[in-house]
Symmetry: C2
Subunit: 413 residues, 2 copies
C-alpha cells in the first residue's frame, strides 16, 4: 500500500544538511511504496502550522538534486521549537496532520533535540497503533551525537576551520612583529570542531599553537604563561578556542569579567575578545599585535569549503534512513560506524533513538593533551579522513548556484 | 651583461600576491640577462637589514611555482616600513646593498605606498646614473590603485566576499524570525570590496539588501528607516558595510558613540557591532535577531576561494614587469587595461609611477545608488568578470598545501 512521506529539518545550519534530504528524496522518489514526498517548512513548527510543500513537485530539473546537495543551511528551514513535555494534545494534532496528508514515513533531520522529538513521536504512534514510522537523520557541525562515529556536517565545518586557520596563520606572519591571533570556533559543550583546527598543521604550518576545548577547565594563568613562552620562541602565534570554554568554577570565560576594563565594564563580543583583552592586559611585549577572529556562522554555512566525504556520508544517511523505513524500522537514527582510520572504512547502521536523544558526546579526555593545550595523535587520526575531498560545487561565473524550495507554495493534502 | 634581480613585497596580504612573484620568478629564471634571483624578506625593512634569500636556490621542485601561486599572504613577508622623506642617506644605503648583490633589476610588489617607494628609488638611481631599473607590480584587495582597471588580489577577495555573503544569507533565513545580519568588509577609504558583495545576488539570493560604502556619507536615520521597511517586506535582511564608512561630518562610524550604551560607554569592536547596537536600540520588532559579522583577515587570506582569473592576471603582472625591465623600462607599474566587459577583454600595459604613487581610486559616485543604498548595474558589469573561475589549488587529504620560502636561509652576495 502506498503511503506518503514527510521530511523536515531542525537545529542549527550546516553545509551538508541538505545532502541528507537529497539522499532521502532520491531514495523516496524511486520507491514504489512511497507516494508523494512532502516537506514541512521550519521543522515541527511549520508542520503544526501546516506549512507543507510538495517536494516531488518542486524537484523538476535534472541538476536540482545536485544543487541541493551543495546548498548550505536547511533548504526546508529550521525551527527552535521543542515539543512540550506535558502537552499530549500536541501529539494528537501532529498525528492528525500527518494522517490528513496520508503519511506513512516521517523523517527528522537534526541534532539531539530533534532525535528526542522523533523518539517521542515514534513512541506515540506505536502506542496508538498507527502505521507511521519515524526515523532520525543525524546532523550537526558540533559532532556531539552519541552512537555514531561522527555526524554529517562535522567534516565540512572541520575542513573550513582547518583551512582557514592555516590561511590566517600565513596572514599573521608577514610582518616581523610579535602577534597573538585568537580564533573562536563554535562548540558550547563539545570541542570537536575546535580540536579539528589541529588539521591546519597538515598543511605544513605550525598553527594552531594552542587549542582550548570546553571539556577541560580553562586556566587563564597557564594560558598567559604558555603564550608568553611561545611569543619568545615563535614570535607569531595562533590560538584556537571553543566558544564554550569555562573556568574551573564552571563560569563561561565569555561571560566573565576576566577582561573587564579599568572601570569594571565587561568586554562585549565573544570569548576570543575576552582572551585578546587578557593578553593585552597581562603580556608586556613591545609592539605586540593582537587580533580576535570569530568564524561566526561562516563555519557552518561555507559550502564552498565542504568536504566531499562529508557530503557523500550525509547523502547516504538520508538515503539509508528511507531504506530502513521501507523495511519497517522506526524510532532509530542512521549511524556511521568506523572500522578503520587509514584507509578510512565505515559502514552505516541504525541505533535506537532512546540511546541518542538528549545526550552529548564530548571529546574523550584521553584525546586532549591538557599539559600542552593540544590534542593527541588519536584525535588527528580520527579527524583526518573526515575533511577529505573537495566538493564539486556548481559554479557559474565563479559563484555558486543553490537550490531553494519555494516555501510559499504550500499544498493541501 | 648579466645582472641579478631583487624582488620584495609590501603592504597588506592578499591571496593572489604570490602569483605575481611567481610570474616574475618564472620569467626571470628563463632570462639570460638575469643571473641570480634574490628576494628581500619583509620588504624594504628586510632589504636594509640584509635579510636576503636566494630564490633560485629555494625554488627546486617541479610544483613549487604552482604551490607558490596558490599560497596566500606575502611569501617574502611584508613590512610597514616607509622610506623617510628627508633622509637621503637611506637611499645611499639601499643603493649600496643592491650594488653589493649586483642588482640590475628591482621589483616591488605592493599598493600605492609601495609604488611611491619604487618611484623614488627609480628617480634616485637615474639621478646617480646607476644602471638599475625599478618597477612596481600592483597588489591590493582594496582595488584602489589608479591607472589600472583593477588590482591583482581584488578579484579573489571579491569572490570570497560575494560567496560568503550568499552562504550567510541562506544561514540567516532558516528560522522564521526577523533578523538583521550586518557584514563588515575591509576598505577604509574605497568601497570596491564591499560593493563586490552585490555579486552574491548572482547566486539567486536577494542579499545584500543594503550596501554602504565609504564614498558616500552614512546617514544613520536613513539606514534605520530602510532596515525597518525591509524587515516588514523581507523579514530577514543582510547589510554589507565598509569598515570605513563615515558620517556627514567626516567621523568614522566605527569611532563614534552612536551606539554608546546607557552609561555612555562606547561599543568595542568594529563598525558592524556599532550598527548592530544601533539596530537593537532603535528598531522595535519583537524577537528581532541581530548579528554582526566581520570577515576580518579571512577576506584577504582565503586562497581556497581565490578567483582563477585573478590569479592568472596577478601572475601576468609579475611576468610582464620582468619583461618590461628586460626592455630597460623603469619607474613604471604594470597595469591591466580593460577593453570589454562581456566577454571580458583586457591587455597589459605600463604606467609611470608618478601618476600612481599615493593616489587612491574610489568607486565612482555614478556607480553608487545612494538612494537605495546599493550599487548600479555598471558596477556589477565591472566586477563580474573578476571573480570568475575556481583556483585549482593543490589539496592533499582535502587540505591545501603551500609553498614557503625559508626566510632564515639568508645569503651573502
Amino acid at each position: 500500500m502506498t503511503k506518503n512521506m514527510m521530511i523536515a529539518q531542525s537545529g542549527g545550519p550546516s553545509s551538508a544538511i541538505n545532502a541528507s534530504i537529497a539522499g532521502a528524496i532520491e531514495r523516496a522518489l524511486a520507491a514504489d511504496e512511497i507516494g508523494r514526498v512532502f516537506g514541512a517548512v521550519n521543522g515541527m513548527q511549520g508542520l503544526l502550522e501546516r506549512r507543507i510543500i510538495d517536494i516531488s513537485e518542486q524537484i523538476t530539473r535534472a541538476d536540482d538534486i545536485d544543487l541541493l546537495i551543495h546548498t548550505p543551511a536547511q533548504a526546508l528551514g529550521s525551527s527552535r521549537y521543542k515539543l512540550p513535555k506535558d502537552d499530549p494534545a500536541i501529539f494528537d494534532t501532529i498525528l492528525g496532520i500527518l494522517k490528513e496528508y496520508d503519511i506513512g514515513y516521517f523523517f527528522y533531520n537534526g541534532g539531539n533535540d530533534s532525535m528526542d522529538t522523533v523518539s517521542r513521536l515514534s513512541a506515540y504512534f506505536r502506542e496508538r497503533g498507527e502505521d507511521i514510522v519515524a526515523l532520525g537523520i543525524p546532523k550537526t557541525i558540533d559532532n556531539d551525537l552519541v552512537e555514531t562515529d561522527h555526524t554529517p556536517g562535522f567534516g565540512s565545518a572541520a575542513r573550513y576551520v582547518a583551512t582557514s586557520v592555516a590561511e590566517l596563520y600565513l596572514d599573521t606572519v608577514v610582518y616581523p612583529l610579535p602577534s597573538v591571533v585568537i580564533v573562536e570556533v563554535m562548540g558550547r559543550n563539545a570541542g570537536w570542531l575546535t580540536a579539528a583546527s589541529v588539521l591546519a598543521r597538515d598543511t605544513g604550518v605550525p598553527a594552531p599553537h594552542l587549542i582550548y576545548l570546553p571539556e577541560v577547565p580553562f586556566d587563564a594563568d597557564d594560558f598567559i604563561a604558555k603564550t608568553e613562552k611561545l611569543l619568545e620562541t615563535e614570535g607569531q602565534i595562533l590560538v584556537a578556542i571553543s566558544e564554550g570554554i569555562r573556568f574551573e568554577n564552571g563560569e563561561y570565560v565569555a561571560d566573565t569579567g576576566a577582561a573587564a576594563d579599568a572601570f569594571g565594564h565587561k568586554t562585549l563580543g565573544g570569548v576570543a575578545t575576552v582572551l585578546e583583552d587578557l593578553v593585552k592586559q597581562r603580556i608586556n611585549v613591545p609592539k605586540l599585535k593582537t587580533r580576535a577572529i570569530q568564524f561566526n556562522t561562516l563555519q557552518r554555512a561555507a559550502a564552498h569549503c565542504a568536504s566531499a566525504k562529508d557530503l557523500e556520508e550525509s547523502y547516504q544517511c538520508g538515503y539509508r534512513a528511507v531504506e530502513a523505513a521501507l523495511e519497517g524500522k522506526t524510532d532509530v537514527m542512521v549511524t556511521i560506524n568506523r572500522t578503520n582510520d587509514e584507509p578510512y572504512q565505515s559502514y552505516y547502521a541504525l541505533a535506537p533513538l532512546s540511546g541518542i536523544a538528549n545526550k552529548e558526546k564530548s571529546v574523550p579526555l584521553a584525546w586532549i593533551d591538557t599539559k600542552n593545550a593540544d590534542v593527541t595523535e588519536e584525535f588527528i587520526r580520527y579527524a583526518r579522513p573526515l575533511v577529505r575531498g573537495e566538493a564539486t560545487e556548481k559554479f557559474v561565473g565563479g559563484l555558486p548556484r543553490f537550490f531553494r524550495f519555494d516555501w510559499s507554495k504550500t499544498v493541501k493534502p
